[in-house]
């Protein structure tokens, strides 16, 4: 591993100042992604700014029933928080679908948002990769691309964002709170991650020197009708090939409001608010959900090895919405397809 200097600021403004002063520095939270990428020489920070001393480890309940989740809360802390599990169960479930208990104990909310793609070429410095080395080319286009994007890809990059937690946060219209050299601001979750376009080296819209301090998420609304369904190569401890975060607000069988975000299929959690809006007023039936799934995937394009993701995503969307509508969300330790759920 390359040499780097190590800093341990204790205040947010000190951490921001250190990051702004040295743009080649990187923040260290749980380390489960950064340390891994440094071992592969993919991340080459000149300095590591350890932010574990910052006061961002709390989950607060706000007056309007929303939650503010500090950037340094661990994934386990959030998933098992009694309030989050009760009022934002979609978020708990998505977190518990990801990684392993040991990794979730170390991984933080802020780090989860900023984790990088698992594209095999990105991880291999001996191959061209526009995300790792802008302008070098994309090895996945025309290469091995089984895990790659079917939506929103560009000629420069077809990588996916690997997070499960972020798929739920996208469905829930969370907001990201950040602090930078010019002060604090909030970013709607759907604007936090970006599509690759001509700049795949940029995963998100954070500006130089900005640090994520927290995430704000609404509570209660979708607690009765939600599901996080994750499909992967083995039963646990594997990244999503396709995942679906579904949340419904129902009046009897009629849909008042629907939110559906897809993971494993694009450079950011994928949503189509216009298609969702058209679900309002419709009956919560398989027919409705199948038509919606077709629409959501109408722009999907395979790269060869990942063509299977398109029909897989379609079935996953329908199944997740049926689970949400029936109030029987996917249970992350339950590996069998339940009675009446086959497609």
């Amino acid at each position: 591993m390359r040499q780097f200097s190590y800093l341990r600021p204790t205040g947010i403004s000190d951490a921001v100042a250190a990051l702004a002063a040295e743009p080649t520095a990187q923040l260290l939270a749980g380390g489960t992604n950064l340390v891994d990428l440094m071992k592969y020489d993919v991340a080459q920070p000149s300095a590591v700014i350890d932010i574990n001393g910052l006061p961002l480890k709390e989950i607060e309940t706000l007056e309007d029933g929303a939650y503010r989740i500090g950037a340094l809360t661990t994934n386990s802390q959030v998933a098992y928080d009694a309030g989050i599990a009760r009022d934002v169960p979609l978020l708990s479930s998505a977190i518990l679908a990801g990684a392993s208990p040991q990794l979730r104990n170390a991984a933080t909310s802020g780090g989860n948002l900023s984790q990088r793609t698992r594209c095999y070429y990105f991880y291999d410095p001996s191959t061209p990769c526009n995300k790792r080395e802008p302008g070098s080319g994309c090895s996945a286009i025309g290469g091995v691309n089984r895990i790659h994007a079917i939506l929103g890809a560009s000629d420069a990059c077809i990588a996916t964002h690997p997070s499960d937690m972020c798929v739920a946060l996208a469905a829930l219209n969370a907001t990201v709170e950040v602090t930078g050299p010019t002060g604090a601001r909030t970013i709607p979750f759907l604007d936090f991650h970006r599509l690759p376009g001509d700049h795949p080296e940029r995963d998100n819209t954070l500006q130089t020197g900005e640090i994520v301090t927290g995430i704000r998420v609404e509570g209660g609304r979708f607690a009765a009708h939600h599901s996080y369904l994750k499909l992967r190569d083995r039963l646990s401890y594997a990244f999503a090939l396709v995942s679906v975060a579904a949340a419904l607000d129902l009046d009897g069988d009629t849909i008042l409001d629907a939110r559906v975000a897809l993971g494993g299929v694009a450079h950011k959690p994928w949503r189509d608010p216009l298609a969702e809006a058209e679900l309002s007023g419709q009956p919560a039936t398989r027919d409705t959900f199948e038509a919606f799934a077709s629409r959501l995937l109408s722009g999907a394009k395979g790269q060869g090895h990942n063509d299977f993701k398109i029909p897989m995503a379609k079935k996953a969307i329908v199944r997740a919405l049926m689970q949400a509508a029936s109030g029987r969300p996917q249970v992350q330790s339950e590996k069998r397809v339940r009675e009446g759920e086959s497609l």
């Binding site: 260290l28 000149s46 990684a99 208990p101 990794l103 170390a106 646990s236 330790s333």
Partner: protein
């Protein structure tokens, strides 16, 4: 590997860790992982290096009672922490209940994953989120066993979990 222009060596950083009950004052380069510290300078080779990338769980130890992958932690980031490794859970004459159950259930073949499995299981028991065999399997999925001893591993953990809850019930009744 081309490491680019030479960078000045990182200065060492003072770190205090309590490892298996023993307080240690160390001077560490920032790139040393907890796993390499344990197996190298501290000569605690019970903790195993499988993948070195968070993908196998062989390096699982308890940090302040919580199970994590020691291969993905810079030791300098743990100043003040208490670390428990397999050597600190039990001794050959005084086995931890999980160690005993692993022996009784033949929950290994080559034994390489075992220290990580046992530390992980200790973390699982204290977390208290597993209430069924399915939940044990899911919440032990961060530990791979190349020999495929999963069934016996789950048996061993289930037995200790059942004994623990009996003790809890008895204590509550007393």
């Amino acid at each position: 590997m081309d490491l680019g222009p030479a960078r000045a060596p990182s200065p060492t950083i003072p770190v205090t860790l309590t490892v298996n009950g023993r307080r240690q004052q160390l001077e560490l380069a920032p790139f040393v992982t907890l796993l390499d510290l344990l197996r190298g300078d501290l000569a605690l080779t019970g903790t195993k290096k499988g993948c070195d990338h968070g993908q196998c769980g062989a390096c699982t130890v308890l940090v302040n009672g919580v199970r994590i992958n020691s291969c993905l932690k810079f030791a300098v980031s743990l100043d003040g922490a208490e670390i428990t490794t397999i050597e600190g859970l039990g001794t050959p004459d005084n086995l931890h209940p999980l160690q005993k159950a692993f022996v009784e259930h033949d929950a290994y073949q080559c034994g390489y994953c075992t220290p990580g499995q046992i530390c992980s299981a200790a973390g699982l028991l204290s977390e208290g989120h597993a209430h069924s065999r399915e939940e044990i399997r899911e919440l032990m999925s961060g530990n791979l066993c190349r020999c495929g001893a999963y069934t016996n591993i789950a048996d061993a953990i289930e037995e200790v979990m059942a004994a623990d809850s009996e003790t809890t019930v008895r204590e509550a009744a007393e």
